[in-house]
């Protein structure tokens, strides 16, 4: 997730007072933007078609199925989205299982935003890794070799006749796919996977 852009939040909560209060608190420091609000699940389903967002914040009292991970079953299309529960009081632990974070209405706004930030940062969708995620493309491998040889972004762009912007986006994808961030780490990856020999470095 791009860190510079705001996290878009959808709120599903019956009380208008709480909805408005949450919106105000979350938007306080500019990291979050509440893109839409609904009073219940049918309203959300009817009106939230294809709107992209990063977090849904839902009152778990609206979920009547008391079984673990009910939240994920109710929103199969949103497996890439952080699910946050907004808690007034008691909720059974089964219903809460599957949420990525739990906010209490007694939390102050800083605490709420910290919890959400943490959930966004640590969110990993383990259930599915999309196919395009698995291997480096041939182009990415070429770029990786250049990175391992110590070329700067400018030099890589010139060598492969692409823009610096494209180089950066390739490098982001390489890091996303391999999990490796540092240049020396990427160099090791390239050698261990036979993309380049130690002598060519």
């Amino acid at each position: 997730m791009n860190r510079t852009s705001k996290n878009r939040v959808v709120i599903i909560e019956p009380s208008p007072v709480v909805r408005q209060g949450m919106k105000k608190m979350l938007e306080e420091d500019g990291d979050f933007a509440v893109s839409s609000m609904y009073s219940d699940l049918p309203a959300f389903r009817a009106r939230a078609k294809n709107l992209p967002f990063d977090i849904f914040l839902i009152n778990p009292a609206l979920i009547h199925a008391h079984k673990p991970f009910a939240i994920r079953e109710l929103f199969p299309d949103y497996s890439q989205t952080v699910a946050a529960a907004l808690l007034y009081g008691y909720a059974d632990s089964d219903t809460l299982a599957g949420f990525d974070c739990v906010l209490s209405i007694y939390d102050d706004s800083l605490k709420m935003r910290n919890k959400l930030q943490h959930a966004v940062k640590t969110f990993v969708n383990y259930s599915e890794t999309s196919i395009e995620n698995v291997d480096l493309s041939d182009r990415e491998k070429e770029i990786l070799v250049s990175v391992a040889q110590g070329l700067t972004n400018r030099e890589i762009a010139d060598k492969h006749c692409i823009s610096i912007h494209t180089v950066i986006s390739h490098r982001k994808n390489i890091t996303r796919k391999t999990g490796i961030k540092t240049i020396s780490g990427l160099t090791i990856y390239a050698v261990f996977n036979g993309l380049i020999s130690q002598e060519e470095l």
């Binding site: 605490k111 910290n114 999990g179 490796i180 090791i188 990856y189 261990f192």
Partner: protein
């Protein structure tokens, strides 16, 4: 962990039982085992450790969402905080880092890894990087803070500069984890890699808490002094 934070009346031993990672924190305060049933307050007073600082560090290391309020912050003695940070630097360089490097070396030897030298080079480079990082803090940042505490102002340096340049030390550890889990040759079996991986996970999470302590607590406290001296 989501519970009430530790307080001065918590038994120090209970904290270690609740969060075993504090076993790496205690020595940096000069505390060992044999704590008996002493409370935090008793143990700290006996050993000349600041209670608010000890609680702050232990809470930060234990509760992911822990964020101290302004009153708590005001009670933190800056010179003790710096001493703690310096002790943990020493602990990292003297014990943690050599342990990791030793285990990587073992792994390379026992599996006769072809490109083992590169992996060693990676670790050595990382070691130099953290040495430089700690040196900067101990030779530039901390002396600046000590001068501030004595009421001396220098125009040349501001804590903002530290904040801007404060690099993340955990990226290389994260890379090493990824390489070991995903990309080593089959001779490096899980059994051979497990200990070094567990050490890496622990070291990485300790370093990220250490960085949090510097970014959230140290910088905030120093900014307050800079402000009052204006």
């Amino acid at each position: 962990m989501e519970q009430n934070p530790f307080s001065a009346n918590t038994k120090a031993a209970d904290m270690a039982l609740a969060n075993y990672r504090l076993l790496y924190v205690f020595p940096c305060f000069g505390l060992g085992l044999g704590l008996g049933d002493g409370t935090v307050k008793q143990v700290c007073e006996k050993n000349g450790v600041s209670v608010p600082l000890f609680l702050l560090v232990c809470n930060l290391y234990t509760f992911d969402n822990y964020s101290p309020n302004a009153d708590t912050l005001m009670q933190i003695p800056l010179d003790d905080l710096m001493r703690y940070l310096q002790n943990s630097h020493r602990e990292y360089l003297k014990n943690r880092m050599p342990e990791v490097i030793g285990q990587v070396l073992n792994l390379i030897d026992s599996s006769q890894m072809k490109n083992g030298k590169m992996l060693m080079g990676f670790c050595e480079k990382y070691k130099q990087e953290i040495i430089a990082h700690f040196d900067y803090e101990e030779q530039t940042v901390f002396p600046y803070i000590r001068a501030l505490l004595e009421g001396k102002r220098t125009e040349r340096y501001k804590i903002k500069e530290y904040e801007r340049n404060h690099s993340n030390l955990d990226a290389a550890l994260n890379d090493l984890k990824n390489i070991i889990i995903k990309y080593l040759p089959p001779e490096c079996t899980l059994e051979k890699c497990r200990n070094v991986l567990i050490d890496l996970f622990l070291f990485e999470s300790d370093l990220s808490k250490h960085t949090l302590l510097e970014n959230r607590i140290l910088i905030a406290l120093v900014e307050r002094i800079e402000h009052t001296l204006k």
